[in-house]
C-alpha cells in the first residue's frame, strides 16, 4: 500500500463491520485518523457504502484500493508493484479451400477438405517497470511444425508425434508444437515526439501490419503483400517513433533500422535495412488515417563448407544468392458513422546481384527468380449495422513483372460478414475467389483458388 491516507479513508467505511465482529477497538482509532485527514474525509462522505457490512463490501473496498494503487503507479506517483498485464486473443474456425484438382496450388495447401482449424493463440505480457518505460512480449502458440509440408524436391511432411514418456502407461503420444515470438521489445519514452524501442517488432507499415490481430482486422483474408512479405512483417533492430498533436489531428512518424530480411536469426551482412512511416490521423467523430511507408534493404544467403585442402582446417563461405530490395506504399483508413474503408497500395522491387539469384519455393527444377516488380492494391468497404453486424466487400489486385509461373495478374474479389457479439467475442466469415491471368501470353489453367473461412475470435 503506497498511500496510507487512502487506506485509512477506505477503512473508515468499516465501523459497522467492526461493531458487528465485536472488535470495536481498532476501528475508532482508524476513524480518528481519517477524520484528521481531509482527503479521507471526502472519501468517507462520498463513498461510504450503505447497508450492513459484508464480505462483498470488503471485496469492494479491496478493489478500490487496488484501483487507486494502480492509478498512482500509472501516474508515476508511486513505485509500481511488480506486475505483468496478461491479455491476448485466440481464434478457431472452419474452412474449406476449393482448388482445382492437380493444379500447382495443391502444393501450397495441405488439404482441399473442409476442416476445423486452430488459428492464433496469442498471449501478451505487458510490463511498465517505471514511468516512461515499457516492455511488451507477444507470443503465438501454434501446433506447428507438426503437419507442415514442403517439396525439397520431394514431398515431405513434418511429424512431431512422440511417445509421452511421462505417461504412466507409456504409450500415450503427444504432438509437440511451437511458439512464435510476434514481438518482444522494450522502449523508453522521452516525450510525445520521441520513443525509442529495441527488439523484435511488427514492421510499422500500412494498415494491416499495424492492426495485426484477428480481433482488429476486418477481413480474414490477408492481402498478398502481407502473405508474401513485400516488407518483412517482423524485424529485429531499433525503432523510433512519435507524434505531434494539433487538437484532433496528429502527425506521426516511425523510423527503424534493422537486420532486415534474414535467413537466420542474425544478419549475414553488415548492410542494415531502413524503414520509415509517416501518417496523419484525425480522431474526431469521423476518424481517418492517411499514411505512407517505405523500406530499403538487402538480403542474402551463404553456405559454409569445411576445407582441409591446404593441409589446415578452414571454412569456405559461398554466397548462394543476394539481392537489394525496396518497397513503397500508401494507405488510407476511414471510419465514418458505420462505414469503414481500408485501402493500401504497395510497390516492391527486387534486384539480384549478378549471378546470385535464388530458386523459387515452388517451381520448375533449375528455375531461378528474376529481378522483378510487384504491384499490390486492395480496397475494403464495410458497413456496421446495429453495432453488431458488419458485411463487407474486399477486392485485391496483384501485378507481377515479369510474369511468374502462375501468371502475372491476380484478381481476388471477396465478400465477408462479421458479427460482434461483444467486444471480446466475434464471428468472422469470408468467401473469396482468386483468379490468375497471364496478360502477356496464354492464361494458366487449373489455377484458381476459392475459399470459405470462418473464425470465432475471443479476446481475453
Amino acid at each position: 500500500m503506497k498511500n496510507p491516507g487512502v487506506l485509512i479513508g477506505l477503512l473508515s467505511f468499516l465501523p459497522g463491520l467492526a461493531h458487528a465482529q465485536g472488535e470495536p477497538a481498532p476501528i475508532p482509532s482508524v476513524a480518528n485518523q481519517a477524520a484528521a485527514n481531509p482527503s479521507t474525509e471526502e472519501v468517507d462522505q462520498v463513498e461510504a457504502p450503505a447497508g450492513p457490512p459484508s464480505t462483498t463490501r470488503l471485496d469492494a473496498i479491496e478493489q478500490r484500493l487496488k484501483e487507486v494503487e494502480a492509478a498512482e503507479a500509472e501516474a508515476g506517483h508511486a513505485t509500481p508493484a511488480r506486475a505483468i498485464d496478461l491479455y491476448g486473443f485466440m481464434d478457431v474456425g472452419l474452412q474449406r479451400l476449393f482448388l482445382d484438382s492437380g493444379g500447382p496450388l495443391n502444393g501450397v495447401y495441405p488439404t482441399r477438405a473442409t476442416t476445423f482449424v486452430l488459428g492464433n493463440v496469442n498471449l501478451y505480457l505487458d510490463t511498465r517497470p517505471g514511468p516512461g518505460w515499457r516492455t511488451l512480449i507477444e507470443t503465438r502458440f501454434t501446433l506447428y511444425p507438426n503437419g507442415s509440408e514442403s517439396f525439397t524436391p520431394n514431398y515431405q511432411r513434418v511429424n512431431t508425434s512422440v511417445y509421452d514418456s511421462s505417461d504412466p502407461n507409456g504409450r500415450a503420444r503427444v504432438s509437440w508444437g511451437g511458439v512464435v515470438i510476434e514481438r518482444a521489445w522494450g522502449e523508453w519514452s522521452y516525450s510525445q515526439a520521441l520513443t525509442i524501442q529495441a527488439g523484435l517488432f511488427p514492421s510499422p507499415y500500412g494498415i494491416w501490419n499495424i492492426d495485426h490481430g484477428t480481433p482488429v482486422l476486418i477481413s480474414l483474408l490477408l492481402p498478398a503483400f502481407q502473405v508474401e512479405e513485400a516488407i518483412p512483417t517482423h524485424l529485429v533492430g531499433v525503432h523510433a517513433y512519435g507524434s505531434f498533436v494539433f487538437g484532433a489531428l496528429d502527425l506521426g512518424y516511425h523510423v527503424y533500422l534493422t537486420n532486415g530480411r534474414t535467413m537466420t536469426n542474425v544478419d549475414l551482412t553488415d548492410d542494415k535495412a531502413l524503414g520509415a512511416r509517416l501518417f496523419l490521423r484525425y480522431s474526431g467523430a469521423t476518424r481517418f488515417t492517411v499514411g505512407t511507408s517505405g523500406y530499403w534493404g538487402t538480403s542474402s544467403d551463404d553456405t559454409k563448407q569445411l576445407d582441409f585442402s591446404s593441409g589446415s582446417f578452414g571454412v569456405t563461405e559461398t554466397r548462394v544468392w543476394a539481392y537489394h530490395e525496396w518497397a513503397a506504399g500508401v494507405d488510407l483508413s476511414v471510419d465514418w458513422g458505420g462505414w469503414r474503408l481500408r485501402t493500401e497500395a504497395l510497390l516492391h522491387r527486387v534486384k539480384y546481384d549478378a549471378g546470385a539469384q535464388n530458386e523459387p519455393g515452388l517451381g520448375p527444377p533449375g528455375s531461378v527468380l528474376p529481378n522483378r516488380f510487384a504491384h499490390y492494391w486492395y480496397g475494403l468497404l464495410a458497413r456496421r449495422f446495429a453495432r453488431r453486424f458488419e458485411p463487407y466487400v474486399y477486392v485485391e489486385l496483384k501485378y507481377s513483372s515479369p510474369v511468374d509461373f502462375v501468371g502475372d495478374l491476380v484478381y481476388t474479389p471477396s465478400l465477408g460478414f462479421n458479427i460482434y457479439f461483444k467486444p471480446w467475442a466475434q464471428l468472422k466469415t469470408q468467401y473469396s475467389s482468386s483468379y490468375f491471368f497471364n496478360t502477356e501470353g496464354p492464361n494458366p489453367s487449373n489455377v484458381t483458388i476459392r475459399s470459405l473461412a470462418s473464425r470465432l475470435v475471443f479476446v481475453f
Binding site: 501516474a75 498485464d85 492492426d211 490481430g213 480481433p215 498533436v245 460482434y420 471480446w424
Partner: protein, 152 residues
C-alpha cells in the same frame, strides 16, 4: 415462412442487444492538477487525452488520465459526449489498441473522491467528476453540461 424468419431475426437481435439502463444526466467537471499549465481543454483535446493520442502536456509532463470505471453512470455520459462512443464501442476501441500493442486504457477508479485525491496529488493527472463533488484542490479545465463540452 417469412414470419418465422423475422421471428428468428428478432430473437437474435434481442440476444445481441445489451440492456439499456436509464442514463442519469450529470454535469461533469474535468479537473487537472493545480500546477498544470493547461487552462482550457476543448472536446478534441479531451478526446486526444482520453484515447491516449496526447501523451504529454505542453510542459512535457506525462499525461495521466484517470477514468471512471464502466459501471459508474458518469462514465457513460463522458464517453458519449467526449468520445462519441457507447460503452461497447469504447471497450472495442481499447481491445483494438491493446492487440496493436499500443497503450492500454487509462486507469479506472470508481470513486469521485479518489479521483479528486489522485489528481490533486499528481502533476500531469487529469480526471472528471460530477460537478457536485468538486473540491478546491484541483483546477477545472472544462465542463460537460447538457451533453456538450463547454468552457470552465
Amino acid at each position: 415462412m417469412w414470419s418465422g424468419v423475422f421471428g428468428i431475426v428478432a430473437m437474435l437481435g434481442c440476444l445481441l442487444s445489451h440492456p439499456s439502463g436509464a442514463e442519469e444526466p450529470a454535469d461533469l467537471v474535468v479537473i487537472v492538477h493545480p500546477s498544470s499549465p493547461v487552462r482550457v481543454l476543448s472536446a478534441n483535446d479531451l478526446r486526444a487525452v482520453f484515447t491516449r493520442v496526447l501523451r504529454d502536456w505542453p510542459d512535457r509532463t506525462p499525461v495521466s488520465a484517470i477514468n471512471f470505471a464502466p459501471s459508474v453512470p458518469e462514465r457513460a455520459v463522458f464517453d458519449r459526449v467526449v468520445l462519441g462512443m457507447d460503452p461497447d464501442d469504447v471497450a472495442q476501441f481499447w481491445v483494438d489498441q491493446m492487440i496493436r500493442g499500443d497503450s492500454p486504457p487509462p486507469r479506472q477508479l470508481s470513486s469521485a473522491a479518489a479521483i479528486v485525491d489522485l489528481v490533486s496529488r499528481t502533476p500531469g493527472a487529469i480526471g472528471y467528476i460530477p460537478e457536485s463533488k468538486l473540491k478546491l484542490r484541483v483546477k477545472v479545465v472544462a465542463r460537460i453540461r447538457r451533453g456538450q463540452v463547454v468552457m470552465p
